[in-house]
Amino acid sequence: MTGLLLGAALGVPLAMLVASLSPDLRARLPSLLVFAPVPALLAALLASGDTLALPQALLSIRLALDVPSAMLLGVAALLWIAGGQYAAAWLRGRPGGNRFVVWWLLTLTGSLGVFMAADLVSFYLLFSLVSLAAYGLIADDGSARSQRAALIYVGLAVLGEAFLLMAFVLLAQDAAGNTLLIRDVVAALPTSHARDAIMALLMLGFGVKIGLVPLHVWMPLSYRAAPIPAAAVMSGAAVKAGIIGLIRFLPLGAASPGWGGALVVAGLLGAYYGVGVGVTQSNPKTVLAYSSVSQMGLLAAVFGMGLAAGDPGVALVAAFYAAHHILVKGTLFLSVGIIQASGRRRLWLLLVPTAILALSLAGLPFTGGALAKIAVKTPLGSGLIGALATLSAAGSTLLMVHFLRRVIRTAIRPGGDIAAARFVLPWLAATVAAVAVPWALYVVLGIGSVAYALSPAALWGATWPIALGLALAAALARWETRLPQVPPGDVIALTGGAGRLASAASLWMEQVDATLRRWPVAGVSLLTLAVVLAVAMLAGHW
């Protein structure tokens, strides 16, 4: 019975999309956005462990929830609810809101659906949906800058899709029987003859989604271009399609030191790279985007350690870390929105919760972030990798202090007071959830013990990297002007040379085409083809 909730989680947003075809209903949709993710939330709470198989006419879609995916689904639904409420407030009185609502619902359907997909076809379908529909959210304001960001985003997204499609075709090829269930095809992966190719393609495909360096270039550009509510759900919820992809497709049960090691290196590189480039940025949204690069890099390293050791338990802790990031990063983007719409008077009412959330990303004691760091401590181990991961919390602190300093400068509303209640309330709800929900999950799912989380050793372990980060931040504040200016999207600026090369190549191809399309050349080609075909066929029999 609760299996039907899984269907409703997909069906309700789709029904709202259909409703958008009617002009009468369309006008009401913004205020209803908040309800679209509610069935998904209920499914996450009630239907964990259930499966729903749709009939063949609907692609034989199989939806299923286990504990990690239910956790991600529920938390993502919470962010989509808060984001939907914020979007409704933001859309009030704006022209062109209908399009935004349609893109929003499409992205939402894909974002929530991908956590439930249990077969290759529906996973690919929903993964593509969340990836590509976000194009409309990024390009929403129609400016040249947004267009460029959206094009770079969609180019990389389509590239990622191509990698994944190839990986899925190879996976399906090797699976015994006619199964397309992800569980079954991944079970056959460790013994597949194309194992290395599949692993490489999976990492590239999901690496684009989670912004693994150097595939991260779309992130800063997109989050800067997207409107506040869109940036919130994209950075929080939509990116986690890549995380559920890693959970579902990496053969975590079979130790694979080579590929695990590669993922650790790429991940840790991203964790530090995100901080390094992030502190040179001035736009608070771009700073948050680089923080995502850093956080997702750390998470990739967690997966890498799990893969290297053959530890399937890493799926749950990684999902917990990701769940915390969903709420915190999404809420921080909402913070940017309300602080921009505020003046200096009573600003501390907004700044204090924002600061707590920001430092939660660095593992501030008593926050969900501290719990997330405890959860991933075991897989990261106590060696060099563990030490580097712990030190990256200092980097996160540095980056978040930089973010806070940058976002305060944007509070310049005339009249001086904080933003209107219709913006502040969804933010407040999301903030409360970002603090409370990780604790609830930690306790209910038994991620770790509360006693340990509150022990002096754990508190000290969480505190010293933050203290170090604060010291670094003070140093940075002094030397800030000496930092180089890195354009958002950093290495994308280096691709100009490749672009010139590509345009030269395409010019050359145009000339070749013009030559081939001349009559004499085409006549010769035609006769040559006839001869070549005849000879090739003859040769086959001699």
């Binding site: 062109g96 390009a139 129609g142 145009e510 085409d513 035609l526 005849a534 066929m537 086959g540």
Partner: protein, 477 residues
Amino acid sequence: MLLLLMLGARYAERIAAVALVLGAGIAVAILAGVWQSGAPLVTYLGGWAPPLGIALRADGLSAVMVATTVIVIGAIALYAGRAFSVPDGQDETRAPLVFWTLLMGVWGALNAVWLGNDLFNFYVALELLTFGAVPLVSLDGSAGTLAAALRYLLFALVGSALYLLGVALFYGAYGTLDIGLLAGLVRAEPVIFVAAGLMIAGLVAKTALFPLHLWLPPAHAGAPAAASALLSALVVKGSFFLIVRLWFDVMPGLPSMAAAQVLGALGAAAIVFGSVLALRQARLKLMIAYSTVAQIGYLFFLFPLATGQVWNGIAWTGGMLQLVAHAFAKAAMFMAAGLIGEALGHDRIANLGGIGRAMPMTVFAFGLGGMSLMGLPPSGGFLAKAMLLTAAIGEGQWWWAVVILSGGLLAAGYVFRVIAPAMATQAAPLALRAAVSRRREGVVLVLAICALLLGFLPLRPSPLLEIGRPGVAALAR
């Protein structure tokens, strides 16, 4: 068609409508008949069996093509209705009469190709197809389109001549042209390979496979949108279909893998060159025409992928799905481009800014068609590419897989080159020169949705296509 000439253009549209309704009924009957009996339908014209008489034969492939054709032609007729009708109280003009006559003529010729079972009949059908298609290119009578039409005509005639030469060699060797009889007679002889080489080269020229595509871009881009849709969606598929018949039905098992790889390589070159050239076009219709050059390339992967064994279901289903999905998607895109061109008075891609706000339904349909070309799910194009990829990996020919995926990326490039400016905001709302008919926008959207719905077919070989394939029945046993 004869009736049409007698009654003149005033009634042309109505006659075509009646014929299309009848045709749709026949297509459904053929599809149902083939599906239920699980065997091909065969009719002997005049009651004479080959070699004396001529047979019409509908196997699974034919049934699919007949049904696709009637849907696309029906959509084209609905779309063209307003543009090519004679208003009451005005004199008849040339264009409407010619358009409706040729539309019906091309339709008949296509059906003769799908259902024919005799190499000479195919020649007649091919010529009919060419003579129907060429005037459609120059319907507006301007110098530019006349030149394009002549170019098309000349090249198509050269192709026909090569084909006919091959047919003569076949007849000289075996004394029959019936496919079923030939399949039992042909042996690996030099003369047969020479004949096949000539025929396939001729047909390739008519299909506009790279590097023999010189005629396609100007012809398809210059024709009125309804005619472009017909040419790109269906006409080029006619000659492709004949290559398939020749390769797999007339001489089953004879063509060598080397020859198949030649065709596959040309297909790969078509994908790369066609897509890159599409990226470089400044005009919307030329871009779509070059995209056709690229999409034709995918069809030719059928040869390297399906030649190796008796029945490679996944390659066949993927190849045929690519054919049908491209027919729907490309017809929708050309007709959408036609609406945009009429509304704006030009089709320069650089000046399409804001068109998405002015004509959302048309741009949406264009985008859906583009989705299928890119191979994004859910769409027929996605399923086709996924199956061709599977077949390529299954056959150990991974190099085609690389081309298929790169082709998708390039297609994304040229589709977004249109969609991106279309969605951009303009300072001033776009002023349309002419109001856009909701009905015509609806027709375009329905075709695009057809391409989308194909994506909901199951991801496995289709049993329908196996019906009537030589060797498959033996395999099943």
